[in-house]
Subunit: 330 residues, 2 copies
């Protein structure tokens, strides 16, 4: 069993690679719901949607979100009626939001609704929202506090970020199946998603960080930071705002409590040598002395890049696990 | 001020004619909501929608319902997810249902939501749902009782009809503005809609029949029955099921409590002579001895037919009103 923690478009691409080389039924995907929003009165879960579309083979390659070959006629009419139109929902995409909203309004939990949707779409992997409670990623900027999609999509992440908080996290619980999935997996992968606003909200749900710390699984993260900057999106700005270095060292630091393996891009070969040196000489308060580092191409431009990255990560995890077992055996 | 009572596609065509010859702001349209349904969890009001699209100049001429040049991609995906797809909602059309559902879920009444929608679409006429309470047209057939759209669209009105009832009507009240609109109009027109399931539900809302009976307006109906059969749809079957003749006499009888003028098709010239004779010799319990009858082409195939019918009806009403005034003056 493999469990992936993910959110955002980088994560969706990685899961797309993974599903090509791993049997779908062996895969559990735990998804950030901190970006969820009530849009036109409908329950929209951007990260759950992307993962759902990837696993249903419907994700738009071109856009990286939404449904392939979608149209936007409903959106046009919404705009004509004076409703906000900055968050783009396609006509085919709408079906998912309308159906999810119906299930939630009938009293189903988000994980029940998600299970119903994946079953209807014939997805064999399990998709789990991180929590059935509302946990909302709130971004504080000099222009006010706002939800993540407003910061990210509407304002094109141009605002400087003062801080990020996960409203509701303290009272949230992991959705049914989340803790078990992590605890029973041999491999837990943190997708190359924004650590602060894609993986961060998942880790903020009480109980999830604990099960990761206590897990015997090999826990690997793919760095979304390459050459000292985010591959895409505001991960750099947000890491810095949270007091982390915008580098693979910052990513390692963010996940230090439980990370066994950090997968970094070839361009960070030198940085990874430095990181190894620094880790040797620095005492660390984490369960594991320091993560192994694996260098491989991580930029996923083409479809083949995704599979190649997934393969490379799986192989590195296997080696990492063997080394750990040997060390424990010794 | 002119008030039209309407429902269904015949009514929408007639209102389309009327809006070409009457200033939009002089027009109030009171619309049947007995066909409303919760579809995919959204509040869909088929008759309100048709009138809204007609007055916004968006109604599909081709289909007679929905938005012109619409696509059905959301519907396709709903079908793929195993949701019912027999009631066809287009992508452009969806905007209206999503927006209305949002307003209703926020606590607005149906008439408030309708006013908001018409304002957003720049419609100068007033569109009023017959009631803000749920009144549901239920059709009893040997195959069970069902909502009107299920009988009409899903089962293509093939079931024999035992009876029709308006669930919730006894506890319903006219929506705000309905009684005033009728009371203050010089002219009340009953569109060539199904008397039983389009106009019938409006008349079943307590208070509406009374204000019609007490009204000093000229009240005219355009017969949807031509040559002893419905122009389209199940009006014939339903009139018969309710114990009315499927003829212009049946229509006159259905509206006998308040009708001043019945507009019938040229093909019913002979039947209208018969009806006049019968009315002369038969005592009637209604406020008005018998309606005047006006013969004119009523079938609206082309756009021009609609305007021509509206013009003819307006002229007949003017004459009828003059005759009444003369009679009262005498």
């Amino acid at each position: 069993m493999i469990t992936v923690l993910t959110g955002g478009t980088g994560g969706a691409k990685f899961v797309d690679g993974l599903r090509q080389i791993v049997p779908q039924q062996d895969l559990t995907v735990i998804v950030n719901t901190g970006d969820d929003l009530l849009w036109w009165g409908l329950h929209v879960c951007p990260d759950l949607d992307s993962i759902t579309y990837v696993l249903a083979d419907k994700l738009s390659e071109e856009r990286g979100w939404g449904v392939e070959r979608d149209t936007f006629f409903c959106l046009q009419n919404m705009r004509q009626m004076g409703e906000p139109a900055w968050f783009q929902i396609g006509d085919r995409d709408l079906a998912l939001h309308v159906f999810r909203s119906k299930l939630l309004n009938e009293g189903k939990t988000l994980s029940e609704a998600t299970a119903e949707i994946t079953a209807r779409l014939g997805i064999a992997s399990r998709i789990l929202p991180m929590s059935d409670s509302r946990v909302e990623t709130r971004v504080l900027t000099p222009n006010g506090e706002m939800g993540f999609e407003e910061y990210f999509v509407r304002r094109q992440y141009k605002d400087p970020v003062t801080s990020v908080r996960f409203a509701g996290a303290l009272n949230a619980a992991p959705a049914s199946g989340v803790v078990d999935a992590i605890a029973s997996s041999e491999l837990v992968l943190l997708a190359p998603s924004n650590p602060v606003t894609s993986i961060g909200p998942i880790l903020a749900v009480p109980g999830i960080r604990d099960v990761l710390r206590g897990s015997e699984a090999t826990i690997a993260a793919i760095s979304p930071i390459v050459g000292g900057a985010a591959v895409s999106g505001p991960a750099g700005t947000l890491l810095a705002a949270q007091g982390f270095e915008v580098s693979i060292a910052g990513v390692a630091d963010y996940y230090k409590e439980f990370l066994d393996l950090l997968v970094v891009d070839l361009r960070d070969a030198h940085a990874s040598d430095e990181l190894r040196e620094k880790q040797k000489t620095r005492g660390r308060g984490s369960r594991k002395v320091a993560p192994n580092i694996h260098c491989t191409p991580t930029i996923m431009r083409k479809k083949e890049d995704r599979t190649a990255l997934a393969r490379s990560v799986m192989e590195a995890c296997r080696q990492c696990s063997e080394t750990q077992n040997a060390a424990e055996g010794a």
